[in-house]
């Protein structure tokens, strides 16, 4: 049919313009990157249904062309096939550039489900959508624990902060669709404000080997990517609905994608989750309900030569914090530690009362890229984030419903990146970043500001290069410089200002004296250099080794500088220090990977020496009207962390395999040898999985999670005199809880509901035997047991 129309069309054309078929089209084919000529390319002339080839110099000539449209389809070995069209009304000469960088093409290829790693020589682990879907009802931090060596530090069960090789918070850099997440991440009780359902794949990079994104990732980088844009006329989506017994929760997430072959795309995604009070095996964990909703909208155009994207995401979460964890003084803490059960146990409810958090996070991004002939690719990006965090404490009187913390953090970032890849086997990437951030602490809370108002300015430049030394070996290296300025306006109690000795060292900062308090204007500049170098060598087709070194440098965050007050659930006074300087980490790491037909193993080792590592340490005791409180202040000491992460799988039978994920991490201060706090204990997870692809891709997995008792911990215990009885007791806040051993189950099955739709039904049971346990890395372990059995049913409909 098409040919007939074409013939008809040509015939009409020929009839109308019969006299004008005298034009000549002279073409020259070159490589897009380096301008070299392309010989022996096939050129299909659509209007004439004829083929020809380019000569040795990449030239070709089409003669006797008629006036009108000329469409050429050009193909060349290892190049993207390109179709171009011209309107011919005179003799025409054109240079046509083809693209031969296969790797780049993957980014826009039609077919590939290939998700490429972000780095070449770093310890990078990829979590794909098949894995992530299991965590649809949970949080980002829960999903990341699939990677050996990644754990989490929790406040209850809904606030889950990822931890890579024992480091967390400001030491991890989280990129959400190429935007660095700015959501008060310094706080150990501030989980990333990201909906796990907006992610299609997540890269976890251990160490700072991804300098393009920042030089302060002492612990690691988490890169969250949305679904790749595919150049195909297609409309697809999925809906995940789940319910769980523990917390009587539900979650619903839906996404829809529309792509066009010409590169245009638009997609949207929304999630709604809610649960009531969770339950430990023996009691209800009162006030642990949570609610969250997330929306993501994304659209743009993506072609090989250029493209743009607009992206908006909104995440709103309200999280109840275990009621019994809110305490007034040390005596309350002693009572909690000595009691087997939390002090408040109410009936199950979906209501969320104080203490609670309510956070709204908006992210807006616009990006544009263009490739230039004989040059490379230029990318530009602007993003804006607005993070509004409320924390509600238990308050009395008129302030009952008033937030105790009300912070608005706004961040604007502009980035420009250039990749020079015109020459073969050469790839240089460099770029610059500018960022402005403003934090506003609402004074209407009636509570002294935890974090002051501040303006922060960042500027960074970096350069990265790659050298393929041979077909088996690749070397890369990078350098980065960052400048940070923080300009804060903070009120200090005069007594605190003097107690810290700031009146002698920072007299110039005082801009107003209000009698009992001082308004100060601390301004600090930090210059940070970071670097990375790595090598990856393929031993053979099945195995490789890689080794890398990274230098990262992190300036103190607002909490480390400015903290100044009572931390309720910890019953301690936490003090920042204006004298802190940047911490500098030197990390060396090596990995070995083997992927055979039956046996896979990945072994990753690291040694991270951090000079001037910042952490909280007990300093003394201060008396207040509520009794004595231990004071913890930020100090800097040289520290070291090292460890080994193993993941292995072995196929016993065709349909049965066993996998093991084990991580061992050690951290201590170098001079004193004192262990660092909050280092994950030795843990190992074994899973046995049965699969039957013939029977609706059925799978059934039973896993055992064994977390040892952490024997390496700092002793921060202290004595206190109880006012009610007059006796002196030891407050044991240090001893980690005993080891625990949990069994989990996961089974799923996929039905083809029609030609283009599938239904995946998954059943999972966590903590099958309803074991009572407390986790060392859960900050509410003093107050209550962790979660009991949880049965989840999840339906995923793909269309």
């Amino acid at each position: 049919m098409r040919h007939i129309i074409l013939l008809l069309f040509l015939a009409l054309y020929g009839y109308s313009y019969g006299q004008d078929c005298t034009y000549t089209f002279t073409g020259k084919l070159i490589d897009f990157h380096d301008g070299t000529t392309l010989s022996s390319a096939t050129i299909y002339i659509k209007e004439q249904d004829k083929y020809m080839t380019s000569d040795f110099d990449g030239n070709f000539k089409i003669e006797n062309l008629c006036r009108g449209k000329l469409t050429l389809t050009i193909s060349h070995i290892a190049c993207e096939t390109k179709t171009v069209s011209y309107i011919i009304n005179s003799n025409t000469t054109e240079t046509i550039a083809l693209e031969h960088h296969i790797e780049e093409l993957n980014e826009v290829s039609v077919t590939g489900n290939i998700i490429t790693k972000e780095t070449k020589t770093a310890q990078e682990n990829l979590l794909k959508v098949e894995t992530l879907k299991r965590y649809s009802a949970l949080s980002l931090g829960d999903a990341l624990k699939e990677v050996s060596g990644v754990s989490s530090i929790n406040t209850g069960n809904a606030i889950v902060k990822p931890m890579i090789n024992g480091l967390h918070s400001s030491r991890l850099l989280i990129l959400n669709n190429n935007v660095r997440q700015q959501d008060q991440e310094w706080g150990i009780e501030h989980a990333p404000n990201i909906d796990i359902n907006s992610a299609d794949n997540i890269s976890v990079i251990k160490g700072s080997g991804a300098l393009a994104f920042g030089g302060d990732a002492v612990g690691g980088v988490i890169i969250i990517n949305p679904k790749r844009v595919i150049l195909k006329d297609t409309l697809f989506g999925k809906t995940i609905a789940g319910g769980q017994t523990n917390g009587r929760g539900f979650s619903l997430s839906s996404s829809l994608n529309k792509n066009y072959a010409n590169g245009w795309f638009i997609n949207g995604q929304a999630t709604l989750k809610q649960n009531g009070d969770f339950e430990s095996p023996d009691y209800i964990l009162s006030n642990t309900g949570s609610k969250s909703k997330g929306i993501t909208l994304r659209g743009g155009k993506k072609t090989f030569e250029k493209g743009f994207e607009l992206y908006y995401s909104f995440f709103d979460t309200e999280i109840g914090i275990l009621r019994a964890s809110h305490i007034g003084n040390i005596e309350d803490l002693v009572t909690a530690i000595n009691s087997d059960e939390p002090s408040v146990i109410n009936n199950f409810t979906y209501d969320i009362d104080p203490p609670k958090q309510d956070v709204k996070h908006h992210l807006l991004k616009a990006s544009y890229y263009q490739r230039f002939k004989n040059f490379g690719k230029l990318s530009l990006q602007y993003d804006y984030q607005n993070n509004h965090r409320f924390e509600f404490d238990i308050r009395v009187g008129d302030d009952r419903d008033k937030a105790a913390l009300d912070l608005v953090l706004q961040t604007h970032t502009v980035m420009a990146d250039i990749i020079l890849d015109a020459k073969p086997n050469y790839r240089l990437k460099f770029g610059a970043l500018g960022r402005y951030q403003n934090n506003f602490a609402n004074p209407e809370t009636g509570v002294r500001r935890l974090i002051p108002d501040y303006d922060k300015f960042d500027f960074g430049i970096y350069v990265l290069n790659e050298w393929p030394l041979s077909s088996k070996t690749v070397l890369d290296a990078g350098l980065r410089y960052d400048f940070n300025r923080i300009d804060a306006k903070k009120f200090y109690r005069t007594s605190r200002w003097e107690e810290r000795g700031y009146d002698e060292d920072f007299e110039d900062f005082v801009i107003d004296d209000l009698g009992t308090q001082l308004l100060t204007n601390p301004v600090f500049d930090y210059h940070n250099f970071s670097a990375s170098a790595g090598i990856k060598h393929d031993l053979n087709e099945k195995s490789y080794v890689l080794a890398n070194y990274s230098l990262s440098s992190r300036p103190p965050n607002p909490s480390e500088l400015f903290s100044d007050g009572l931390h309720h659930s910890a019953a301690r006074i936490e003090l920042g220090d204006l004298r802190l300087t940047k911490e500098v980490a030197n990390r060396i790491a090596a990995s070995y990977s083997y992927e055979g037909s039956k046996f896979n193993v990945l072994l990753e080792g690291f040694y991270n020496r951090i000079n001037d590592f910042m952490f909280l340490e007990p300093f003394g005791v201060e008396q207040t009207i509520r009794g004595a409180f231990p004071v913890w202040n930020y100090v800097q000491r040289d520290a070291e962390l090292y460890g080994l992460d193993l993941s292995a799988s072995y196929t016993i039978l065709d349909s049965v395999d066993i996998t093991n994920k084990t991580a061992y991490t050690v951290g201590n201060e170098i001079k004193s040898g004192i262990d660092l706090i909050d280092i994950p204990a030795f843990n190992t997870r074994n899973t046995i999985t049965y699969r039957n692809d013939k029977w609706h891709q059925f799978s059934f997995a039973l896993s055992n999670e064994w977390v040892f008792e952490q024997n390496n911990f700092p002793n921060n215990n202290f004595e206190t005199t109880l006012a009610s009885s007059g006796e002196t007791v030891l407050v044991d806040i240090s001893t980690p809880p005993p080891a625990y051993n949990l069994f989990h189950l996961y089974s799923d099955i996929t039905f083809d509901t029609s030609e283009n739709t599938t239904l995946n039904v998954a059943l999972s049971v966590n903590n099958i035997f309803d074991i009572e346990y407390r986790a060392y890395l859960n900050r509410l372990r003093y107050f209550a047991d962790d979660l009991g059995r949880n049965i989840m049913l999840q339906l995923q409909f793909n269309y």
């Binding site: 302030d399 602490a441 002294r448 107690e499 009992t516 009207i625």
Partner: protein, 192 residues
């Protein structure tokens, strides 16, 4: 693609605009609420004798300075004292607030607990909240008739959001009270 370029220019310009628009106004100080800096307990003997005043005063709140604890007067043996409490927020010397009224208004969620060590005396509540549970803003202290001790610790604790119905709580036993501590202070008192 032109539109995209314009979009970018607009966005970049708006960034600069926002970046420059941060003014230099100083933030206002926070008017701290729910702060108790001072508790004054007055023990007035029924009949003749000296009034005993116990005070704890911590003007910098959670700041580094310890509360100033003062006791004036000595307890007398075999005496009944009428006790009363006044709570103040003196963190701003120009705007002293009386917090006693706030506790009075929410008396069903607050309770004081008092003990006197060395068996020097017993405390009983003299006031009730709307649920007929004690509050402790008013109480009476009965000292013993004779003792070998010369001094003891008078401990006062204020809790809120406690369980007033728990066993012993209405008799002044703090053990099962739960809740959160607002004030906890021990005063060394002499008896003669």
């Amino acid at each position: 693609m032109k539109t995209i370029k314009y979009l970018f220019i607009t966005l970049l310009t708006s960034t600069l605009f926002v970046a420059c628009s941060s003014d230099d106004d100083n933030p206002p100080p926070v008017n701290e609420e729910e702060v108790i800096t001072t508790m004054t307990i007055t023990l007035t003997p029924q009949g003749a004798g000296d009034t005993v005043t116990l005070q704890t005063r911590d003007l910098d709140g959670d700041g580094p300075n310890a509360p100033l604890v003062t006791v004036t007067g000595n307890l007398s043996l075999n005496t009944t004292y009428n006790g009363s409490v006044i709570l103040l927020d003196e963190s701003d010397p120009d705007d002293v607030e009386n917090i006693t009224e706030e506790v009075q208004e929410e008396s069903d969620e607050h309770q004081f607990f008092y003990t006197l060590s060395n068996n020097l005396g017993t405390v009983s509540y003299s006031d009730l909240d709307e649920n007929n549970n004690p509050v402790g803003l008013l109480f009476s202290l009965q000292t013993v008739a004779s003792t070998t001790a010369t001094e003891g610790l008078f401990t006062a604790t204020l809790r809120h959001e406690l369980n007033k119905d728990a066993e012993g709580v209405s008799n002044g036993n703090i053990a099962n009270a739960g809740g959160e501590t607002d004030i906890s202070e021990s005063f060394t008192v002499s008896i003669q």
